[in-house]
């Protein structure tokens, strides 16, 4: 087991760069969830490229339409996330950020869309996971890294179009 331990550690050191998720990666998104008391918080961070395919303020009609439908989707949390039914959660409040404050493009050329949803669960003990329709809504999205801080501890999961749910 000493040897196994040493092996494990060296495999880790070699593979380290492969698992450090970059802050802004097109095609992927990040979700941070926390459960505390009856509050279930979902924090979403997506590169705009993953949702509408460009990261500058909409100019053409097509871009404006795509942007508007993205906003409409993000402002309908009940259609985006389905927590464990038995937990009996309902959306309390949400906030979707403006990716271009003042309508100006970001200096580094990249832009994210952030949103935060607060759900109140009548039976939080039954909350064991959630499903998302984000992949259906945004076809360019291929991967969501989920970080969780729940009563059972912290953890990390990855959601993909084929596995659009997370459980803990």
């Amino acid at each position: 087991m000493k040897i196994v331990r040493a092996m494990v550690l060296s495999v880790l050191v070699i593979t380290l760069p492969a698992i450090a998720a970059p802050a802004h990666q097109h095609g992927s998104a990040k979700i941070d969830i926390s459960v505390e008391g009856n509050k279930f918080t979902i924090g979403l961070e997506m590169p705009l490229d993953s949702t509408i395919g460009s990261e500058r303020p909409a100019r053409t009609d097509k871009e404006k339409l795509a942007y508007a439908s993205m906003m409409a989707a993000l402002k309908n949390p009940a259609g985006l996330f389905t927590p464990t039914a038995a937990a009996n959660c309902r959306v309390e409040s949400f906030q979707v950020s403006d990716p271009f404050p003042g309508g100006k493009p970001k200096p580094d050329g990249h832009a994210d869309i952030d949103a935060e949803y607060l759900l109140i669960c009548a039976n939080p003990a039954a909350l064991k996971g959630f499903e998302t329709t984000l992949f259906k809504q945004f076809k360019r999205l291929q991967k969501i890294d989920v970080q969780r801080a729940t009563p059972s501890g912290q953890g990390k999961m990855t959601m993909t179009p084929g596995q659009a749910s997370a459980a803990w």
Binding site: K2, L12, A18, I19, S34, A149, Q154
Partner: protein
């Protein structure tokens, strides 16, 4: 024929060939025990790995990779790229969201074991597994500057007891390390076994780390300058920097916000990782090794069952007459088929049950030894749910495999057995 006498007949016939079937049984028993053992060690190693630390919301260190930070702060493997300024630590611990913060100072060692400088609060705050806290097997936490608390493995390997004197070395590894020989420590406490890196650590006060290096400059003792142990208390022993910090928050939901605060800290480049998230990342990378081990043990099961089929097929030759007589006495081809299939199932089931029992006994006997010597915590149990699936899988595969000799006997029993060939 009704099934009950048929099964009795199958059992008696098997008993008549107990030697060959016995060997096959042992093969199946051992391969089942191996498969279940791999699964158990995998599950339990994962458990003790991911539960090395619990109840800590954030691990903070100088900016580096998240896994690197976990490796040195929690597993004491590898080295920090940079230190954290004590002032930064003070600012973080005063943050309104923070309930407690533990400083960690690493870098020295004692005969291959890591030395961790921290505060006595460490023994109250640090927890592992399902929020189990550290317990003292004997002695107590450090009170004086040169007091040390050792982990269970350190105490067992080096034979330390409360009251022993030890000296620390500067750096990790074993070759040509400079000794802090002028300032020996006294062991004041020994911790209970935890199955985590704590067992392999020597804990001293943060001030002790400063005191050890008072008369050191640029990583070496200054010639001609030696500050005697009794005088160190006259110096300011507040550390200038630490290696990492463990942080507990008042509210769990603040963790992402606090993480962002640390990562965007203005004073110096810092990194905060959520230990549970980083440990999951770590385990994902070693998933390949895990799957390989599992594949090998599945192969061993297949070899065991192939042995069963081969033995049974070979025995058909010896049993030509037996089966032909049964047919002549009125057993239909279907009865012969059931008899053979039942024999296969009987041997597989018995082998699997014995294998599971063997694992249960062996793991119960060796669990304390494994924990003490290898740091792997095996939970004594008969079968977990995932092991039960594997167990069922072995029996079903064995049943399917014994259909082969059954089918062959069914086809051949009459024509073959009644045509004497000499």
């Amino acid at each position: 024929m009704s099934p009950i006498p048929l099964l009795r007949l199958a059992a008696r016939s098997a008993w008549a060939r107990r030697l060959t079937l016995g060997v096959t049984l042992v093969a199946i028993m051992l391969s089942t025990a191996l498969l279940l053992c791999v699964e158990r060690v995998r599950a339990d190693a994962r458990q003790s790995f991911t539960q090395s630390v619990s109840g800590v919301d954030l691990v903070v260190g100088a900016r580096t990779g998240s896994v690197q930070l976990m490796l040195y702060a929690v597993f004491h493997a590898g080295a920090a790229t940079n230190n954290v300024d004590w002032k930064s630590f003070e600012i973080l611990s005063a943050h309104p969201a923070v309930e407690w913060a533990l400083p960690l100072s690493l870098g020295d060692s004692h005969r291959g074991f890591a030395v961790l400088g921290t505060t006595p609060a460490y023994f109250e705050r640090f927890s592992y597994g399902e929020h189990q806290s550290l317990k003292f097997r004997s002695g107590e936490s450090f009170a004086k500057v040169f007091d040390a608390v050792v982990g269970s493995e350190v105490a067992a390997k080096l034979g330390y007891k409360v009251g022993d004197a030890i000296t620390l070395s500067h750096g990790m590894g074993s070759a040509n390390l400079l000794e802090h020989g002028d300032k020996p420590f006294q062991v004041v406490g020994i911790l209970e076994v935890t199955g985590t890196p704590v067992d392999r650590t020597i804990h001293v006060g943060l001030e002790a780390i400063t005191a050890l290096h008072l008369d050191w400059v640029a990583g070496a003792p200054v010639k001609g300058l030696s500050i005697p142990q009794d005088f160190v208390s006259k110096f300011d022993l507040k550390p200038k920097e630490i290696t990492a910090a463990l942080i507990g928050l008042k509210r769990r939901s603040d963790v992402f916000r606090m993480q962002r605060f640390v990562n965007e800290f203005r004073g110096e480049p810092l990194l905060a990782v959520m230990p549970g998230v980083a440990l999951d990342e770590l385990w994902q990378t070693i998933g390949l090794v895990e799957r390989t081990l599992f594949a090998v043990s599945v192969l061993v099961i297949i070899v065991g069952l192939a042995g069963l089929v081969a033995t049974m097929l070979a025995s058909l030759n010896e049993r030509r007459r037996e089966l032909a007589i049964l047919r002549a006495l009125g057993a239909g081809p279907g009865d012969i088929f059931i008899m053979l299939a039942a024999e296969g199932l009987l041997v597989t089931t018995l082998g699997a049950v014995l294998g599971a029992a063997m694992l249960a006994i062996v793991s119960t006997i060796f669990a304390p030894w494994l924990l003490e010597h290898l740091g792997v915590l095996l939970t004594p149990r008969l079968l977990s749910l995932s092991e039960l699936y594997l167990f069922g899988g072995v029996i079903i595969t064995g049943m399917l495999a014994s259909l082969v000799p059954g089918w062959r006997a069914w086809r051949m029993s009459l024509a073959d057995g009644l045509t004497p060939r000499t």
